[in-house]
Amino acid sequence: MRGRGLALLALAVLALPLALPNKYAYEVAILIGLNALVCVGLNLLIGYAGQISLGHAGFFGLGAYGSAILAARYGWPTPLSLPAAVAGVALLAWLVGRPVLRLRGHHLAMATLGLGVIVSIVIATEDRVTGGPDGMSVPPLAAFGVALAGETAWYWAVGALLVGTVWLARNFIDSPRGRALRALHGSEIAAEMVGIDSARHKLDAFVLSAALAALAGGLTAHYSGFITPARAAFLHSIELVTMVVFGGMASTFGAVVGAAALTLLPQILTALKEYEMVVFGAVLMLTMIFMPRGLVPTLEKALAAANRRAV
């Protein structure tokens, strides 16, 4: 299953352009890829380690604004501003994660939610640096005078990055470190009793997922040429968690599918104009009622059952 899933993803990325009719479709595909990047990381934290974060949009926003501000206001070349922003966010996550991850369940949810809201308010208020609620423009990603521009170039860049990240994530999950995460999700006490330092491993997952979110945020900013504080807001954090759960937790491919489904759905539904929100909400509810474990695990089970019957 493991190798097949990755091959399928790579194939999808390679073949998709054949089905994309115009620039707008490429835009959606790129957006899906960027969302999927965040979701793969977030799934590590929520699905495998069994923690929760309702503030991940904060990391996304900090990565975006971090790179944007360094590049636009301080003149840093973007191949430097982006990694610097990601590293900065990783450090922040490491500092903040230690105390926060001592909390459990909805207390952890609240703490991460609070942090995310604080970040988004600060970004929206400090308008001299960030451009305030109206946002700021972001220079394109460029190295040695050559800019990464145009939908096709971005599509391949994001596609390659996504496939690479999924490969890395799958390796991580199938390693002792991945097992340690799943173990502390299963029973933190028993995990400690086999020598797993649960605090350290939770922090690892938190920092990794924060770094991925920041990377995706930075890339989004450079791709769109613009960034607003809404990208760091509570509603965006909720969207991200919803994508992970919708696609299927503890499933890297679930994270990708969830990101794809919930990025695509609003785009499709804009045709319904003012009914868009109602239908979106209804689809979300119905899918979760009938597929409580998420899209991918439910489909996997159905496939396995069908295979058994065919034998």
Binding site: S175, P176, R182, A183, G186, I189, M193, V194, G195
Partner: protein, 255 residues
């Protein structure tokens, strides 16, 4: 003495669950910890494996003072444990449970894990083989790839033992391994415990099943109200008047 305590105490609020217990467990034997309900056996066990911190006293294991260290350091020192209320990793398969148990034997860097370096792949294969061997040892070969939440109670108790053994502990604390098992399953546990000694694992057993305790252990410790009431060989303890009183109540005085 492999494991020694000095005046070990743990109080909850005003109640002393374990009170100034100074005991020693020698290597290579099966020790049993018994006592009426509420005697403090599980609290003592939790202290010995680092899940509770003592309010007073010290714990020395294999020459090291482990008092107050975090739980995973107790594991790293060589103490393993099974749980009375199963703490199986229900989100994984039986094999994965045991593989997770091997954590201490597999230091794994982030880069090595993510990049799937060749050495890592070899280690993973070795981990899998050793874990399969452990499942065989406890008699769970048939359940290897089964999700843990599909396994029956008796199998899960043995799975916990396999998982605890995966870390190659020097001392294994078994918390009521026979609880809820029928006589056939209990006999299997009895055999399993005896084979642990041949593997040079010291065992400390908390158990209510007296037949199992008397049959398998070399050294029995009786707790009552958080204090040591008696200790010695099984036969001696069984006939100790104070122990009988603690379990059954004092004999009424009659002429």
């Amino acid at each position: 003495m492999l494991l020694r305590t000095e005046e070990l105490s743990r109080a909850f609020g005003g109640v002393a669950a374990v009170d100034a217990v100074s005991i020693g467990f020698g290597a290579g034997a099966v020790h049993a910890l018994i006592g009426p309900n509420g005697a403090g056996k599980t609290t003592l066990l939790n202290l010995l494996c680092g899940i509770y911190r003592p309010t007073r006293g010290r714990i020395l294991f294999d020459g090291r003072d482990l008092t107050g260290r975090p739980t995973h350091e107790y594991a790293a020192a060589g103490i393993g444990r099974t749980f009375q209320n199963l703490q199986v990793f229900f989100n994984m398969s039986a094999l994965e449970n045991v593989m997770a148990g091997r954590h201490l034997l597999e230091p794994c860097g982030l880069a090595a894990a993510a990049l799937r370096l060749r050495a890592r792949v070899r280690e993973e294969r070795a981990c899998r083989l050793e874990s399969e061997a452990l499942l065989d040892f406890v008699g769970l070969a048939a359940w290897r790839d089964a999700p843990a939440d599909a396994m029956p109670y008796g199998a899960l108790k043995r799975l916990e033992i396999a998982r605890a053994l995966a870390a190659k502990p020097k001392l294994l604390l078994l918390d009521e391994p026979a609880a809820g098992l029928n006589p056939v399953e209990t006999a299997e546990i009895d055999q399993l415990i005896q084979s642990l000694v041949t593997r040079r694992v010291t065992v400390v057993l908390v158990e209510h099943n007296m037949k199992l305790v008397m049959g398998v252990s070399q050294h029995v410790l009786v707790l009552d109200y958080g204090r040591v009431l008696a200790e010695g060989e099984p036969a001696a303890v069984r006939n100790d008047r104070r122990v009988i009183e603690a379990y059954l109540g004092a004999e009424p005085a009659h002429a």
